[in-house]
């Protein structure tokens, strides 16, 4: 007789209470290991590369989320990444308001923009969505290049950072050793947030829409708004990456809006695999180290990356993370099905 009361109590239990012990453990290990990594890795070059990879990983996670929850492939996520940088650089240039407010706006405005855009473009099926996001992203890039008076054009803008941000010395954001930890914690936080999201009712509704939009609509679900929300959440994550990148470099340029960045983030997501939430971030690490190694060996690293993309797309449709978990499940006698 105690069961019904438990069931009624279930919705009241916060989402956090339903997180399994393994996930808490993984979360703890990830944060501790990440915080200790800079003292273990002495080479500044390696830690710089890792910091870039983690920022890239956050952006790739954003792209991967859209693929995972809607099945749509975005070629335009650099727009949200780069816009965040300009939302920090422009007010700082004119001394409009404190940096703290800029950071809030840099994350909020691209999210809002993505939600409004999403209401229009998530209705566009399949491949056309990719074409549209590419065109939209590039429109922002072109605007940043042309509007020289506002954005400084191709030269970009240096960001005048104050001495402290949220009470933390700005220097902390610009030294790779400390910035790595900040970015790492941000990435782990994003992944944890998404873990909660995809298991929530909302996450399951979006999965249902991805599987069969018509049937989901038949069952009485709104299908446009949830997908626009996923697009907006993804833009929020992309804007977090863009904000970290702008603080780290103290500089923004139209390159941060260029479609080749969107393309790279997409490659990271595909190479890492999007079925698992941490796949795109793994793909980012692989991407940056591959680029570093290939860049030392040959001038033709763009072609190498292109070939890697083709090889993974054709041979490992679930990406590296998918292949890894498959391998692990085969080794383990009773493979437990895991996702997220």
């Amino acid at each position: 007789m105690s069961q019904p009361s438990e069931r009624i109590a279930l919705p009241a239990t916060p989402a956090l209470a339903r997180v399994s012990r393994q996930v808490w453990l993984a979360l703890g290990i990830a944060i501790i290991a990440g915080s200790m990594l800079p003292s273990a890795v002495t080479s500044t070059l390696a830690i710089t590369l890792l910091t870039q990879a983690v920022i890239g990983g956050i952006l790739a996670t954003a792209v991967g989320l859209v693929i995972r929850q809607t099945g749509l492939v975005s070629f335009g996520h650099a727009a949200f990444f780069g816009l965040a940088g300009y939302f920090i650089a422009l007010p700082a240039k004119h001394g409009l308001w404190p940096l703290e407010l800029s950071i809030v706006l840099a994350i909020a405005m691209p999210t809002l923009l993505a939600f409004l855009l999403g209401l229009v473009i998530v209705r566009i099926p399949g491949v056309a969505f990719s074409m549209l996001t590419l065109a939209i992203g590039q429109a922002f890039h072109e605007f940043a290049v042309r509007a020289r008076l506002v954005t400084g054009g191709d030269d970009g803008l240096a960001i005048n950072l104050p001495r402290t941000v949220f009470g933390v010395a700005t220097e902390v954001f610009q030294r790779p050793q400390t910035m790595f930890v900040i970015c790492w914690v941000a990435l782990v936080g994003v992944l944890f947030g998404l873990h909660l999201l995809v298991r929530s009712r909302f996450g399951r509704v979006t999965t249902a829409i991805r599987e069969n939009e018509e049937r989901a609509r038949f069952l009485g679900y709104q299908t446009v708004v949830p997908r626009a929300l996923i697009f907006a959440i993804s833009a929020l994550i992309g804007a977090i990456a863009g904000t970290l990148f702008a603080l780290y470099n103290g500089f923004v340029s139209p390159e941060s809006l260029h479609w080749s960045l969107s393309g790279s983030a997409l490659i990271m997501a595909i190479v890492g695999g999007t079925r698992l939430l941490w796949g795109p971030a793994l793909g980012a690490v692989v991407f940056f180290f591959f680029k570093d190694v290939a860049g030392d060996l040959t001038e033709h690293w763009p072609a190498m990356i292109g070939l890697m993309l083709i090889a993974v797309t054709v041979a490992l449709p679930m990406g590296i993370s998918g292949a890894l978990t498959k391998l692990l499940d085969r080794i383990r006698p009773a493979g437990v099905r895991r996702d997220g």
């Binding site: 492939v73 549209l132 590419l134």
Partner: protein
């Protein structure tokens, strides 16, 4: 004013020749070739290299069209056909990889610097149109685009292959059941699409500066054309290219800072009104 409209027609014409290749391939294979801009770029470079070597623009044009047609046959055999049972997005990703490889190859062979090609001597002058002088070569581009549009619609309406293409773009499965060898038709169509990309690439070489990234710029505009026109629609692509060409040109002249935003705003507007483009059926 008249000159502005004509200039808009030049860009619209180039866009049309490129975009209609995308439409052809989409109609048959239901995939979008993200490397189409690179085919345009490779076409421009091949045309440039052959034309400067022989000192004759027309030889360059002919060789470029032939080389690109061969590249199209190759692409269909190694990419589009083996991937036809996969999700269309797989082909998108693979052609995106090809884009990176082709850009890198061109950068290696011809370098990063801007190159330029002179228009053929016969078309180097200007003509008087209603009292205003207009470069003959630009007029030639407009005429060529019109000829492509007429030729293509005649081919699609009159020839057997054209019938198969139209049938296949409406319903592939039924077309195949009725005994049409869609793989054979597809080779021809993809080769034609690639050849058109080569044609527009070489023809645009005297108008635009050649650089390895020239393909992505026009690819994005031709995507706007294809999406606004309605994926898979030939007439939709034709009208959309004309409109985008005019808007692009007026934008560059009157509001240079926002020129590239105009086609984009138009696109968003059209999609709010009709999510599948103005001549689109359900994709």
């Amino acid at each position: 004013m008249l000159l502005q409209i004509l200039n808009g027609l030049v860009y619209g014409g180039l866009l049309y020749i490129l975009a209609v290749g995308l439409v052809l391939i989409f109609g048959l294979r239901r995939v979008v070739n993200f490397a189409h801009g690179s085919l345009f770029m490779v076409g421009a470079y091949v045309g440039y290299a052959v034309a400067t070597y022989f000192g004759n623009f027309w030889v360059g044009l002919a060789v470029s069209v032939a080389v690109l047609a061969a590249l199209g046959v190759f692409l269909d055999a190694v990419v589009f056909r083996p991937l036809q049972r996969e999700d269309p997005i797989v082909t998108v990703l693979v052609t995106f990889g090809i884009l990176l490889v082709l850009e890198d190859a061109v950068r290696t062979i011809w370098g990063k610097d801007f190159l330029s090609l002179k228009p053929p001597e016969a078309l180097a002058g200007t003509v008087q149109i209603l009292g205003e002088s207009f470069p003959t070569y630009r007029l030639f581009v407009i005429v060529l685009a019109a000829a492509v549009a007429i030729g293509l619609s005649l081919w699609l309406r009159m020839s057997r292959i054209g019938l198969f293409v139209r049938a296949s773009s409406v319903d592939r499965t039924t077309t195949a059941i009725l005994g049409v060898n869609t793989d054979r038709v597809s080779i021809i169509v993809v080769a034609a699409g690639a050849a058109l990309a080569g044609l527009s690439g070489t023809v645009s070489a005297p108008l635009l500066a050649l650089s390895p990234s020239m393909g992505s710029f026009i690819l994005i505009d031709s995507f706007i054309v294809v999406v606004v026109g309605g994926l898979g629609s030939f007439s939709g692509a034709f009208f959309a290219a004309l409109i985008i060409g005019q808007l692009h040109n007026f934008g560059v002249v009157y509001v240079p800072a926002a020129a590239t935003m105009i086609p984009f705003l138009l696109m968003v507007g059209i999609l709010i009104w009709r999510p599948s483009g103005f001549a689109g059926q359900h994709v």
